[in-house]
C-alpha cells in the first residue's frame, strides 16, 4: 500500500429528496435521525475510502445499506450530493462530460448483478460492444473480443445469444465484456449474487484465477460475508449508508469495530481468516536453522516450514500432524517464530488465545 491511492473518495454523501443539496450544505454533520426527520432518504453518508493499486477491495453490506449507491457514486453513474472523488489523482467530479466518457471508455470496467447483456447482440458482439463504441474497427474489436472470450472459457459460443446461455455463462460474458477494454479499475456490482450457490463458488474461483493473471484494481460489491472473506484484500462494511469499518478480513474477525460487525463475523470459522503470524510464538528474526531461500512448506530435508501469511485453515493439517511445532518463515524466508499444534487446535475448535 504505497504511494497515492488509485481511487479515493472523501466524505461522499448521497441524499435523495427535494432540497437535499441545500440541506447537506447547512448540516454537514447531519445524523441519520436528523436526515430522516427532514424527509430525505440517506443512501450514502460521509463515506471515506482509499483503494490502492492492485488490491481487491470489497464493499460489504446488507440490502439497503447503500453499497450499490456508493459504487455508483464512485463510477459517477450517480452524482453524489457532496464529497470528493479522485481517480489517479484527478478530481473526478470536476472533469467534463467528454473527459468522463473518455475515462469510462479506456480506464473503467463494470460487471453487473443481472449481467446487463444486450439481448439483441451475440456473445461476440456483446463483448466487442465497448470497443465498437470507441470507434474501433469491427475486425480489431472482434479479434480482441475473441481473445477475452477465450480468457473466460467461452470459446465456441461466440454466435450464441445471451438467452441461450446459463446464468454462469452469461456472467462470464459480462466479465469478458468488462475486460475487453483492459480497464485500470474494475467494478463488480454483486456479480455472483444472481447465481446458484454451486455456480457462485465456481465463479469465485474463476475470478481469483483471472485476478492472479491480470492484477487489476478491483472494487467488488457483495452482500455475502463469506464471499467477501474469500476474495478480499480489504473489506469495507456498510450500514445505513455509512462505512462502519474498513479492514482486512483478519482484522475484522479479530477486532470488530462494533456489535454489528461482530454479528457478521461470529459464524466465520476463524481458521479461514486468521493467519499463522497472528497465533505463532514469535522469536528473533533471522534466528534460522535453514539458509534463506530453501524454506517453504514441505521443502528441503529438514523440518518443514510454513509461511507467516498463510491462513490457519490451509496449514492446519500439516501443523497438527507434525510431531513438533513447525517453523514459521516470512516472505524472504527468515524464521519469525514457531507454531504449535495446540495453537492451531484452539483456533479450530475454540476461541483463539486471549490477546
Amino acid at each position: 500500500m504505497n504511494g497515492q491511492p488509485k481511487l479515493s473518495c472523501h466524505n461522499v454523501w448521497k441524499l435523495y429528496g427535494p432540497g437535499a443539496e441545500d440541506y447537506l450544505h447547512k448540516n454537514p454533520e447531519a445524523t441519520l435521525e436528523q436526515i430522516t426527520a427532514a424527509d430525505l432518504i440517506p443512501a450514502v453518508r460521509g463515506a471515506n475510502i482509499d483503494i490502492h493499486d492492485g488490491e481487491i477491495f470489497v464493499i460489504m453490506g446488507l440490502s439497503g445499506s447503500g453499497k450499490s449507491t456508493l459504487v455508483r457514486c464512485l463510477s459517477r453513474l450517480i452524482e453524489p450530493t457532496a464529497g470528493e472523488l479522485h481517480f489517479n489523482g484527478q478530481d473526478l467530479r470536476r472533469v467534463s462530460e467528454r473527459e468522463m466518457i473518455d475515462i469510462r471508455r479506456h480506464k473503467l470496467g463494470m460487471v453487473f448483478q443481472h449481467f446487463a447483456l444486450l439481448p439483441h447482440l451475440t456473445v461476440l458482439q456483446n463483448v466487442a460492444f465497448p470497443l465498437s463504441i470507441q470507434g474501433q474497427s469491427k475486425t480489431r474489436a472482434e479479434a480482441r473480443a475473441r481473445e477475452v472470450i477465450r480468457l473466460v472459457g467461452l470459446e465456441g459460443r461466440e454466435t450464441y445469444f445471451p438467452r441461450q446461455l446459463s446464468g454462469g455463462q452469461q456472467q462470464r460474458v459480462g466479465i469478458a465484456r468488462s475486460l475487453a477494454v483492459e480497464p485500470e479499475l474494475w467494478f463488480l456490482d454483486e456479480p455472483f449474487s444472481a447465481l446458484d450457490p454451486l455456480i457462485r463458488r465456481e465463479m469465485q474461483d474463476e475470478f481469483l484465477r483471472l485476478q492472479a493473471l491480470l492484477k487489476k484494481t478491483i472494487v467488488f460489491i457483495t452482500h455475502d460475508f463469506d464471499e467477501a472473506i474469500r476474495l478480499a484484500d480489504r473489506i469495507a462494511i456498510m450500514k445505513d449508508g455509512a462505512v462502519i469499518q474498513v479492514a482486512t478480513p483478519e482484522e475484522l474477525v479479530l477486532n470488530p469495530a462494533s456489535h454489528y460487525v461482530e454479528e457478521f463475523t461470529r459464524h466465520i470459522p476463524r481458521a479461514k481468516v486468521m493467519s499463522v503470524g497472528s497465533v505463532m510464538t514469535r522469536c528473533e528474526v533471522g534466528q534460522s536453522d535453514s539458509a534463506p531461500g530453501d524454506g517453504g512448506p514441505g521443502n528441503g530435508d529438514q523440518v518443514a516450514t510454513i509461511p507467516e501469511n498463510a491462513r490457519i485453515a490451509d496449514v492446519a493439517h500439516a501443523v497438527v500432524s507434525a510431531a513438533a511445532p513447525l517453523t514459521v518463515v516470512d516472505e524472504t524466508g527468515n524464521t519469525t517464530g514457531t507454531i504449535s499444534r495446540e495453537a492451531v487446535i484452539s483456533v479450530l475448535i475454540g476461541p483463539g488465545p486471549a490477546p
Binding site: 455508483r72 473518455d102 471508455r105 463494470m110 453487473f112 439483441h120
Partner: protein, 666 residues
C-alpha cells in the same frame, strides 16, 4: 361494511332521477322553469364560431415572418406527397408522362406476380413457409376477386403512413423519455387525441391540406401515432436500468445510449407499437377515404352510400384480408427478433440472398413477358370472380322472406329497450345531471375529479350540445349494456372452460382485427339505417374488451383462493359467484371502461347510418367543412369519454384497494 347503505343511497338516487326524468316536462311547465329542461339557445357560448374564425385566420392570414402558415402546410404536403406518388406509381398506376387524358405510361407498375412473390418472400423471411402461404393466399384473393388495383392504392398509403407514424412516434416517445416535463405535457394531449373522434380533426386537416390523398395520409398518421409514442416511452422506461448503467460505463455518448443501447434492447416492445400503428392505419382506411384517399376504403364508402351491399361487402372483406396479411407479417417480424443465426460471409451473394434473387427473377420475367402477354403484368379481368351478386341476392332473399321477423326483432328492441332509455336521458334536467356527475366524481374519486367532471359537463351544456350529448350517452349506454350482458358471461365461460376459451379467443381476435366500418355493412343489409342498426354495430365492435378483461380477471384469481373455497365445501357455482366474480370485479370494470371507449369511437362511424347524436354533428361538420362545429362536437364526445373513464377507473381502483390488490396511497 357500509355497502348495503350505499347501495340503498344509489338506488334511491336512481329512482328519484327516473321520476324526475319522467315528469320533468310537466314539472318545468308548472313551475315555469323550462330552461332547466332545455338549455336556452340565447345562453349558448358561440365557441364553435371562434374556432372557425381562428382557423380561417390561420389559413388566410397567419404568417411566421418569412413564410405564411399556408406555405408551411404546402411544404409539408409536398414532403408527404412525393414519396406517396412514387410508391403508388410502383404498386398501382405506373410512371406516366403528361397529365390527364394525354398521359402516356412510360413504365408500368410492378406486375401482380412480382408483388405476390415479394410478399411471400417477406413471409418466408419473417417466419416460415406457412406464413408465406397465408400472405400469398391473401394477395391471390385480392387479385382473383378483382380488388387488386384498389388494394394496391390502399397498400401504398399504408406503406407511406406507417413509417411516418413510427418515426414520429419514436421521436416523440424518446423526447418524452428524456424530458419528464415534455412527457407531462404530452400525456393529456395523447389522452385527448385518443378519445376525440377522428372525424373531429379531419375538418381542420381538410382546411389545411385540401381534399386528396395528402389529407388522408396526415389524418392517418395523426390517428395512428399516439400508441407508438406511448409504447416507445414505456418500452424505454422498462429497459433494465443495469443495461443503461452499462451503456454509461462503457462510455457511450447520449446518442449512442439511445440508439445502440435503449432502442435495440426495447425492440420487442417497440415492434408491438409498430404493429399497432399498422392496424390503426388500416382501421383509418375507410374514414380517410372521406377526405380523399382512394382504394378499398373509397369502394366501401361509395358502396355504402349507394346501398350496394355486395360491392361494399367484397371491398370490406378485402380490407380485412389485407389487414390480416399485414398484421401477421408484422407480428412475425416482431417475434423474429434475435432468432437469426448470423450468416457466414464466405458463401456467394446469390446463396446469401436467395429470396431477393427469386423475387427479382419473377419481377424481370413477368414484366418482360407481360409486354406480350398482359396476364403476367396485370391479373386478367375476365378471370376475376365476384360474389357481390350473391350477397345482394342473399340479402334480398332474407329481406323478402324474413322481413317481418327482422322487423319484429327491431321494433321489439326499439320499443322495449332503446326508447325508454332514450326518454330517460333526454328527460333529465341538465342541472340535475351535472349534479349527479359531480357527485359520482366526488364519491368515487376526490374533489378534483368532481371539479373536472363538473367543468366538462358544463362545457357540453354551454356550447349547446346537451341534447345531442344525451342521445350519445343513451346510444352508448344501451350498447354497452348489451355488450356487457353478452361479453361478461362469454368471458367467464372462456376462463372456466378451456375448449370454449380457445374458440372464443379466435373469434375475439378476429373481431379485433376488423376495421370498424366492416361491422356496419352486414347490419345495414338486414336492418337498414337507424338507431337499432347503429347499436348492433357498436355492440359488435366494442364487445372484445368486455370478454377479454372478464376472462383475464376470472382466470387470474389465485389458485390458493380457489382451493380454499373447494376445501370449505363450495360448489362450482359458489366458487364462481362467491370467489371468482367478486375478485374479478376490478378487471371487469376496466373491461367495461374499454368497451365504453370503443363504443364512443364507433358512435361517430355509425353517424353514416343516420343517428342523431354528437357523431352526426361531427359528420355534418365534415361534409360542410365547418371546423368549429366539428371540433366542439368532437371535444364533447371526448369529454363524455373522459368522464366515464375517470369514474370507472376510480371505482376499479377502489375495488382493488378493498381487496388489498393495490396500496391505498401510491
Amino acid at each position: 361494511m357500509a355497502l348495503p347503505r350505499t347501495a340503498l343511497l344509489w338506488s334511491g338516487l336512481f329512482i328519484l332521477t327516473w321520476l324526475l326524468s319522467a315528469w320533468s316536462k310537466s314539472l318545468a311547465e308548472a313551475m315555469d322553469l323550462s330552461w332547466m329542461v332545455k338549455y336556452p339557445t340565447a345562453w349558448v357560448f358561440p365557441l364553435k364560431d371562434y374556432i372557425s374564425g381562428a382557423m380561417r385566420w390561420l389559413v388566410e392570414d397567419a404568417t411566421f415572418g418569412l413564410f405564411t402558415f399556408t406555405d408551411a402546410t404546402r411544404a409539408l404536403a409536398w414532403l408527404i406527397e412525393k414519396p406517396y406518388e412514387l410508391v403508388r406509381a410502383l404498386l398501382s398506376s405506373g410512371f406516366e408522362r403528361g397529365f390527364g387524358r394525354d398521359a402516356v405510361q412510360i413504365v408500368p407498375p410492378l406486375s401482380w406476380l412480382a408483388v405476390l412473390a415479394g410478399v411471400m418472400a417477406l413471409g418466408h423471411y419473417a417466419r416460415d413457409w406457412i406464413l408465406a402461404a397465408i400472405v400469398g393466399t391473401s394477395f391471390a384473393y385480392l387479385a382473383t376477386f378483382g380488388q387488386w388495383d384498389s388494394a394496391m392504392i390502399t397498400l401504398a398509403s399504408v406503406v407511406i403512413a406507417v413509417p411516418i407514424g413510427v418515426a414520429g412516434g419514436l421521436f416523440l416517445g424518446i423526447q418524452a423519455y428524456r424530458h419528464p416535463l415534455f412527457d407531462r405535457l404530452l400525456k393529456p394531449l395523447l389522452d385527448l387525441m385518443q378519445t376525440i373522434p377522428i372525424f373531429a380533426y379531419l375538418v381542420p386537416i381538410l382546411f389545411m391540406f385540401g381534399f386528396g390523398p395528402v389529407s388522408a395520409l396526415v389524418a392517418t398518421v395523426i390517428y395512428a401515432m399516439p400508441p407508438m409514442v406511448r409504447v416507445t416511452t414505456m418500452a424505454l422506461k422498462a429497459v433494465d436500468p443495469e443495461i443503461k448503467d452499462f451503456g454509461i460505463m462503457s462510455g457511450c455518448t447520449r446518442h449512442q445510449i439511445t440508439w445502440r443501447i435503449l432502442v435495440p434492447s426495447a425492440r420487442g416492445s417497440l415492434m408491438l407499437g409498430v404493429n399497432q400503428v399498422i392496424m390503426l392505419s388500416l382501421n383509418m382506411v375507410i374514414i380517410a377515404s372521406m377526405i380523399g384517399a382512394g382504394g378499398l376504403g373509397f369502394d366501401v364508402l361509395s358502396s355504402l352510400r349507394r346501398l350496394d351491399i355486395g360491392g361494399g361487402f367484397e371491398a370490406g372483406i378485402a380490407i380485412v384480408i389485407l389487414a390480416i396479411a399485414i398484421d401477421r407479417l408484422s407480428q412475425a417480424f416482431a417475434e423474429r427478433d434475435g432468432n437469426t443465426a448470423p450468416v457466414s460471409t464466405e458463401i456467394s451473394v446469390l446463396r446469401r440472398h436467395p429470396r431477393s434473387f427469386i423475387v427479382l427473377a419473377v419481377l424481370i420475367l413477368s414484366m418482360s413477358i407481360g409486354q406480350f402477354a398482359p396476364m403476367f403484368q396485370t391479373y386478367p379481368e375476365a378471370q376475376t370472380l365476384t360474389t357481390g351478386a350473391f350477397w345482394s341476392e342473399t340479402v334480398k332473399f332474407l329481406n323478402i322472406s324474413y322481413f317481418d321477423q327482422f322487423e319484429a326483432v327491431k321494433i321489439f328492441f326499439l320499443k322495449g329497450f332503446m326508447l325508454p332509455i332514450k326518454r330517460f336521458f333526454l328527460g333529465i334536467p341538465w342541472p340535475w345531471m351535472i349534479g349527479i356527475v359531480v357527485l359520482l366524481g366526488w364519491k368515487f374519486g376526490d374533489w378534483k375529479l368532481a371539479l373536472i367532471n363538473g367543468l366538462m359537463a358544463l362545457f357540453i351544456v354551454t356550447t349547446g350540445m346537451w341534447s345531442k350529448a344525451m342521445i350519445t350517452v343513451y346510444l352508448c349506454g344501451a350498447s354497452v349494456l348489451i355488450a356487457s350482458v353478452i361479453g361478461i358471461p362469454l368471458g367467464v365461460l372462456a376462463a372456466v372452460n378451456k375448449r370454449a376459451g380457445a374458440i372464443i379467443g379466435v373469434v375475439i381476435d378476429t373481431l379485433q382485427t376488423l376495421p370498424s366500418f366492416v361491422y356496419l355493412i352486414p347490419v345495414v343489409m338486414l336492418f337498414r339505417i337507424g338507431d337499432f342498426t347503429a347499436m348492433i354495430a357498436i355492440v359488435l365492435y366494442s364487445l372484445t374488451p368486455a370478454v377479454r378483461y372478464t376472462a383475464h380477471g376470472v382466470a387470474s384469481v389465485s389458485s390458493e383462493l380457489i382451493e380454499a373455497g373447494v376445501v370449505s365445501g363450495c360448489t362450482r357455482w359458489q366458487i364462481l359467484t362467491r370467489i371468482r366474480l367478486p375478485l374479478a370485479l376490478p378487471d371487469i370494470l376496466l373491461g367495461i371502461n374499454q368497451t365504453i371507449m370503443l363504443a364512443l369511437s364507433m358512435l361517430v362511424i355509425t353517424a353514416l347510418v343516420g343517428t342523431r347524436d354528437l357523431g352526426q354533428e361531427v359528420y355534418i361538420a365534415l361534409t360542410k367543412a365547418d371546423t368549429g362545429r366539428g371540433i366542439v362536437a368532437g371535444l364533447a364526445i371526448a369529454f363524455i369519454a373522459i368522464i366515464a373513464d375517470r369514474i370507472i377507473s376510480a371505482s376499479a381502483r377502489n375495488a382493488r384497494i378493498r381487496f388489498g390488490l393495490e396500496a391505498a396511497h401510491d
